[in-house]
């Protein structure tokens, strides 16, 4: 059992949770994720370790209410427990001194860039951060990024915060005005695809963090397979980060939508039958 130490809403539909998991906190690196299962009948879902604190023995996750499991997770309170958490999983982000880096985050993807930003700064890189969302209420952790990043861009589709437009508009401006050594993007598939195209055009190396559906997360089931450079890779052990220019985005978008019907059914059942009251059954 893993106790929830702190829980807070950080943006519309986005929750931050600090969980007691000392053995994971002690070994988590930027880019790692966990797989959790709330209770006995629950599903295993992957979430990025957005931050970790070795001394306190805690990890922080940020998640968006996307369906049944994340909604149920959001209904838990401080002091409640999560049945299973496995991690840290996945390859850590390959971080080195590379010079100038641009981090591009869309929606909830933004927060998961935070440990990468911290690690890049530790290696004395110059880092520009571009955070984007549909509207200002959906921006997460912009203040935390602002404290560390060398340069910050906020972008919203509707112009309610920062620049109006898409993150790729901002990225375009950045790469046209300065030399960029690497771009790291996390967010919705179509956003990452657009970043891949833009950086390919400008001939800049780029990394994206893929989020396929996973089951066990240790390379044993193949649920998370993605095509990268024409080869099948398992995102949970070979990734989740890959060379943006090699990823088959159409395939991953299609695979992500595979259980749509079941996801709707599950959410509908959850909302109508128990409205969060059957937690921890």
């Amino acid at each position: 059992m893993f106790r929830i130490i702190k829980k807070e809403s950080v943006a519309m539909h986005v929750e931050e949770m600090v969980i007691h998991a000392p053995h994971i906190a002690g070994s988590a690196q930027a880019g790692n994720f966990i797989i959790l299962r709330i209770h006995d009948t629950g599903e295993r879902i992957p979430l990025t370790i957005a931050d970790s604190d070795c001394d306190a023995g805690t990890i922080t996750i940020l998640f968006q209410k996307a369906g049944k499991t994340t909604e149920e997770l959001a209904s838990l309170k401080e002091g409640d427990s999560i049945r299973d958490i496995a991690g840290p999983l996945g390859h850590p982000t390959p971080l080195k001194r590379c010079g100038r880096a641009v981090l591009v985050g869309g929606g909830i993807g933004s927060a998961t860039l935070f440990p990468i930003l911290k690690a890049l700064k530790k290696k004395r890189n110059r880092v520009t951060v571009i955070l984007g969302a549909r509207t200002s209420d959906l921006l997460v952790w912009e203040h935390k990024f602002g404290e560390i990043a060398d340069k910050m861009w906020l972008v919203t589709d509707d112009g309610t915060s920062g620049k109006k437009g898409f993150v790729t508009d901002a990225l375009n401006e950045v790469v046209e005005n300065e030399k960029v050594d690497i771009v790291i993007a996390v967010g919705p598939i179509r956003m990452m695809q657009a970043v891949a195209e833009l950086t390919r055009f400008h001939d800049i190396p780029a990394i994206v963090s893929l989020n396929p559906i996973m089951v066990e997360g240790t390379g044993m089931c193949g649920a998370c397979r993605v095509s990268v450079g024409g080869k099948t890779k398992f995102a949970c052990v070979d990734g989740p980060e890959f060379d943006a220019h090699e990823v088959d985005f159409e395939e991953i978008a299609r695979r992500l939508a595979f259980y749509k019907r079941e996801e709707m059914e599950s959410l509908h059942k959850y909302r109508t039958s128990c409205k969060g009251r059957c937690r921890g059954k």
Binding site: E43, D84, A86, G87, V215, M220, G222, S227, V237, K269
Partner: protein, 453 residues
């Protein structure tokens, strides 16, 4: 052995094979010739004293029967059900030359089930702890056996398991209708009753390395992480929607209980016309699971002939009774998708068997003809290979083949203090061979630690 009616059992996940009644067991036991040089024993990887336990059953001393078995085999209820007996003990039984061999597996299961039913006290004597500790990685049959043997010898044993449940393939791979969960739970309870601690959700290689474990004070480490990584065919269409690797399909159903969605949160797609590629136990399990999830038609697609099928005989027969159709000499070359990227058919080469080559093995080759099988789901069950997650984290560990750990007969690796066994050392094999390896390694670990002192 009697089995439940095929039409009824197709609709649920309850156990198919019914086991022997007391009368049947005694009658079967009486067929055994009590050979002076029992060939059956040479076929059993853990060399159970088969004539001795059978003779006990013949005398209706079932308690003695199970005691004999337990001296050699930690998981009799499991092995009696899943051992490929026709290639092992029963394959060697002298009676088999002319008639049916003695049903050793069924008798072993009978003895184990008797023990469970009668609640024969199986309470282990509390071993005297020797203040030494061993870390076991993986809670499959290899790890559980090593842990139990070491615990009985007096070691403090911690088992680290990546998943949220212990048991390895027994838990996430082999379906309920072949191996009921309560049997595995009982065996795991037995292991923990010896004082073994099982740490779940603990991915070694990620949380800490084996080096860390040794530094933390464990005197030795046993690696029993299995060969869980699915193998692909590398044919076009393998990543289409509704193409599953058997391990994902079975994990969803067995570990995550997707058959009871939405009561359980994990879904699984229920195919109507399903092609399962491969003909081992994994393929049979996937095919029969698909039947139970409501498929109208399930095909096994296999590139060789019935003579080469690696699955247990009983499972093949049960699958056929349940309506699974086996297409021999058929090799998929492409999975075809519809415009939404969902499976719609499999294109297969029709094969023929060549004359035996120098090694005496017959190989399938393309006959030049092909055919198309219209299906809406494909399950790949062409084998598993080593998962590099753990081995990658151990510097200088000597591997062979596709990343399996090289060990000597005792299970020692090239690094002192690190032992390994089961599928990760041999490649995908059997429950009983994994157990045998766990037991041998446990003894080797014991003498390693004693000599180190």
């Amino acid at each position: 052995m009697r089995a439940r009616n095929a039409e009824k059992r197709k609709k649920d996940f309850k156990e198919v094979a019914l086991g022997l009644t007391e009368k049947e067991a005694v009658r079967e036991a009486k067929r055994c010739l009590q050979c002076k040089k029992p060939m059956c024993v040479t076929g059993c990887p853990v060399e159970i004293d088969i004539p001795a336990f059978i003779s006990a059953i013949r005398e209706k001393d079932f308690k003695r029967g199970i005691e004999v078995i337990r001296r050699y085999n930690m998981l009799p209820a499991v092995c009696g059900r899943v051992c490929p007996q026709e290639n092992q003990c029963q394959g060697k039984c002298v009676l088999g030359k002319k008639n049916a061999p003695v049903a050793i597996g069924a008798l072993e299961r009978f003895a184990a089930d008797f023990e469970a039913k009668k609640g024969v006290p199986k309470k282990p004597e509390k071993p005297k702890l020797n203040r030494r500790s061993v870390a076991v990685i993986g809670s499959g049959p290899a790890g559980l056996t090593a842990a139990a043997v070491l615990a009985k010898t007096g070691y403090k044993v911690t088992v680290f398991e990546a998943l949220h449940e212990a048991g390895g393939v027994l838990t996430y791979g082999i379906p309920e209708f072949r191996l009921p969960r309560k049997i595995i739970e009982r065996e795991i309870d037995f292991v923990t009753s010896l004082g073994v601690e099982i740490k779940l959700n603990w991915v070694v290689g990620k949380i800490q390395t084996i080096d860390d474990l040794l530094k933390e004070g464990y005197d030795a480490v046993f690696i029993g992480v299995g060969a869980g990584s699915p193998r692909f065919m590398e044919i076009p269409g393998e990543n289409l929607n509704n193409v599953y690797f058997a391990s994902e399909y079975l994990t969803r159903v067995n570990l995550m209980k997707a058959g009871s969605f939405p009561k359980y949160d994990t879904p699984v797609k229920r195919g109507k016309r399903v092609a399962v590629v491969g003909a081992g136990n994994v393929a049979m399990d996937a095919a029969r699971t698909a039947v139970r999830l409501g498929a109208e038609k399930v095909y096994i697609v296999y590139r060789r002939t019935s003579a080469e099928m690696p699955a247990r005989l009983e499972e093949v027969e049960h699958a056929k009774e349940e309506g699974v159709e086996i297409l021999f000499l058929s090799s998929p070359k492409e999975i075809i998708g519809d415009k939404h990227g969902h499976v719609s058919a499999v294109r297969c080469d029709a094969m023929r068997m060549c004359e035996p080559d120098e090694s005496g093995r017959r190989r399938p080759e393309c006959s030049g003809n092909e055919f198309i099988l219209e299906v809406d789901q494909v399950i790949m069950a062409i084998g598993q290979t080593a998962n590099p997650l753990l081995t990658r984290s151990v510097k200088k560990l000597r591997l062979w083949g596709a990343g399996y750990i090289e060990v000597d007969e005792e299970g020692a690796t090239n690094i002192p203090g690190i032992f390994a066994g089961g599928d990760i050392a041999t490649g995908a094999a059997t429950v009983i061979s994994a157990m045998g390896a766990g037991k041998r390694a446990a003894r080797a670990i014991d003498s390693y630690i004693k000599n180190k002192k």
